[in-house]
Symmetry: D2
Subunit: 318 residues, 4 copies
């Protein structure tokens, strides 16, 4: 019997977001986050931050309502892809193989315990930097955007779930994520789980959807280079009439600096910076009790209540 941990998933590759306002949403990601368009196809536009290592990190797709299309992860190798697919299929979460999509080869699709669409693949097309975006230093994929919030890259995503325990267990057992931190109820049920496959303290968070919804999306976070740039991002949002749900502050879990907004299509977007990396192979999950969570954010103010109920699609407004 093999007790070695699963180490097949290399990183979060891209996310597909659905939007009922494709033009406004596209303008948000291009002009206010400073992302670049690499491709358009059908009802979808593919975008990347200037520092994204994959070809793109966001597939923005027109749809009747906002929400998550799917989350894609890249495996370490073709072999790791096969291994994960077999295991997931065996456990009954599989949807099946695809021939790939723009920029990547065949992928295996499945859902997590709460029904979010997920996908893994290995073969990926590299980003060929066009001449006008060639950076001064060739170890970067592209020039510093110097536009809007100038986000570097996709950092992490947060799913809303009707059963956080089940969902976080899924990511641990099927995909090899480790639980870095968790918030629990007095009964020991998870209200939020923070999970990672890289040295980042989390690549994925799963929060309890108090609205009773299932398979909804909470937020996607794009990274900037320093806490100071989060403040600049907030200025960009303020000056351009974007709804700021929570002003810059520091999260307790992961200690990342953040600002939360709703993009025009309705999806919650975070711009974040900082936070710690986890190097210890025997990191012990940090558990936050309801008592401890009452203190609010790192510097003492709670997130607005909408943070625990609003997600996309927006059930309340259906």
């Amino acid at each position: 019997m093999n007790h070695e941990p699963i180490r097949d998933i290399a990183h979060l590759a891209h996310i597909e977001l659905l939007t009922p306002k494709p033009n406004e949403s596209l303008n948000f990601f291009k002009e206010l986050l400073g992302m670049g368009v690499v491709h358009s196809e059908g009802q979808s536009v593919f975008l990347r931050g200037w520092g994204d290592q994959p070809l793109y990190s966001l597939k923005l797709t027109e749809a009747k309502q906002a929400g998550l299309g799917h989350v894609a992860m890249r495996t370490f190798s073709p072999y790791a892809l096969e291994e994960r697919a077999l295991d997931i299929e065996k456990n009954g979460f599989g949807l099946g193989w695809t021939d790939g999509d723009y920029g990547h080869g065949r992928s295996y699709q499945f859902t997590d315990a709460d029904g979010h669409n997920l996908e893994i693949y290995y073969e990926a097309e590299k980003y060929i930097t066009p001449d006008h975006l060639k950076p001064g230093l060739k170890n970067m994929p592209a020039k510093y955007a110097a536009k809007g919030a100038s986000v570097t890259q996709l950092d992490h995503i947060n799913l809303f779930s009707s059963d956080v325990d089940a969902d976080s267990l899924f990511f641990r057992n099927q995909l090899g994520f480790k639980l870095s931190e968790q918030a629990i109820t007095d009964d020991g049920k998870q209200t939020t789980a923070w999970l990672h496959v890289t040295n980042k303290s989390y690549d994925l968070a799963i929060s309890h959807d108090k609205s009773g919804g299932k398979g909804r999306f909470h937020h996607a976070a794009f990274k900037v280079e320093s806490p100071e740039m989060v403040l600049r991002a907030a200025d960009v949002f303020l000056d351009n009439g974007i709804f700021i749900e929570a002003p810059p502050n520091k999260h307790v879990a992961g200690q990342t600096m953040f600002v939360y907004v709703y993009e025009p299509g309705g999806n919650r977007i975070e711009v974040c910076a900082g936070g710690f990396l986890i190097f210890s192979p025997d990191w012990e999950t940090v558990t936050w009790t309801p008592e401890e969570r009452k203190k609010g954010l790192a510097w003492g103010t709670p997130l607005p209540s909408t943070f625990h109920t609003y997600g996309t699609p927006d059930i309340a407004n259906r």
Copy 2:
């Protein structure tokens, strides 16, 4: 008739704060703000930030209850001092001349319309940097503190007042302050007035004391070098059990980045950075309506209600 504006006050020089917990307060200013002690005398300790141009910016005095001792301003010249004293006396606000205090020569004492103790002087002893604090560059008064929040210097003060209009008029007419910004009620009564004598957008703020108190103190603000350092200050307060009344955010007026805490004696202290300078000689006072003020801080969250009622001495707890 002389229409030339009064230009006699050079800058805010120091503030005397009263504390019922002298040791804890002293520890706060020394260890957590990173200020240095230059002198002790009677029940008072005199402190300075590493970048303060006056000999000291804070006189911390033991007292039965927290609050303001007095605010001292320095004039441009001995002549300007005489001129202001004469004018203030003529208008009935004068208390009289003193022989000076530690570090400065004779001063003229008076009160503003709401009864806060004020003082002006010109003659001042220069700070002689002790050898162990000599900076690498001699155009700075001392080494970078590199301790706690490492505040540079006193930046501004905020008085609580039962009648903001009367008080702000006093500072304009008697001391030559200019009104850079104001918040007003629907009836046009000032709820906060921001006033300046330097190029800073405010050296002094006066806020309406909703508790009905008179002559109370709202807060003193110490400056750090950048918005990022305000975040570090918040970390220092978080880690050392200091009550954070309002986490880092950006003020609408002046657009300064701030964090508000209560020092152990009970006085509200702000650590701030940034904000704009005013150079235009015909700057028009910016007026904020109740409607506009409802939006809260720059990035959209209101200050806690205590910000409008808590001051020192703390009337509620008497």
Copy 3:
């Protein structure tokens, strides 16, 4: 006899720069510094930073060679303007009155001791923010640029001079500038003089032109909000092929963080942040000896030798 100091000049208002490459220079200021165009007329384009309080801070004019057109300062009042004009005329530096230029009323023109063209005026048209640039907070003139280096405003200028002592004396005696810092030779001759009329530690610097030139231009500095933003500016220059003469570092005088580049027309441009303000009315000029200057910049590396010889027009290449 009036011993009161002259306090007639409120601030540096704008600078006219000449460029033999008008399109490339315009692109630099618009796309890489992030400034906005407010007007075009004849061979000139008028630009402003998003935080500039005057209508514009840069008049960019096509010319055979790079260099300074003129420097304009604004007086505190119409009366102050008359007073300065009379005094300058009396001392033989005057050129005469104009009817004004785009955005400002009648001005008095003159030259300093080294022949740089200067101008003072009071009447000025205010900036009317167009709808698409209206900021979230109305105490700012415009939205945060969020483009390129996103410079806030013109900060200071530096003139090259064949006789720094004579020139700095001119600014002190005729315009009321104060000498905050100076670098001198062993014989006590000024090699650089830093002068201010506002609380900034300098609004103007004058450096010795080792090339033997007269009336040349050294650089203009545009401000960003924090030291961190100077680093971002350097990234913008690096990624866009702009020659960086001196990478980000900290000046000894004024302790401003800087980066120096040549705009495509050849003029040296600085992006700066930080530095201290001077509040003490009896600030004593800080004098740097050749020995002390040998240490280089604050953190120990010298500026390149071109910093002491290159100016515009570029004599060497004529």
Copy 4:
């Protein structure tokens, strides 16, 4: 035959530095870097940054001359430790097993191709935070230091080597490091190799020792939270008379912001921030040619020549 990559080393754990001036060196690490002492034993003091996940990251040992004692790495598991030890022994680099040292269990010692002392272990004692250092948020090991440069943790080390190719191959083949970037001569010989086992773009750099020395030490780098904090660190060094070999600037490789100093014992120390993470499983080594390296640092100034010759022990001064 197993083509799976070696993934046995979790992270760089600690470094032992030798110093002929133990008191001055200790003072540097404690007061100027802001590290804390966790233990003293014999001629050694064990120190940690406030964010270090291992019990300590620096063992400072009194010795006749400065230099490297050893570098310690932690494996993912006891099994990984055995596997690495076997493999290294088989290849002839082994020195043998120890019973452990302060804070960790049995370790396997060996040398790299150039003779640097290395060690791997798995069993490690956890840091028990003393009450007075308990942080506000329990997912951090300790309070933010708020003293001196306030370094967070050990970030990476740089070895000097007589044969970079051989040494970097050793780390790849024996320890599973990957080559993220390299600088080469026109003949294709490595002059610097950057290697990583975590998502950081390098945990280890190996540079060619132009002095002809063997097994020498180049530098150890401690991390701060943002580029801005590197500037503050430079201020701390400037104000306290520490020799700054290279002022803050940005590295081409890894794009980390840095400042280099010599600690009083003579060892080169870097304070760094930023830099990118590598997530792509098929990252292609970035190769810098001599032509490209001529451009100097990211923003265009070369490192001083001592950077390529000075190491510890200091051969030149023997």
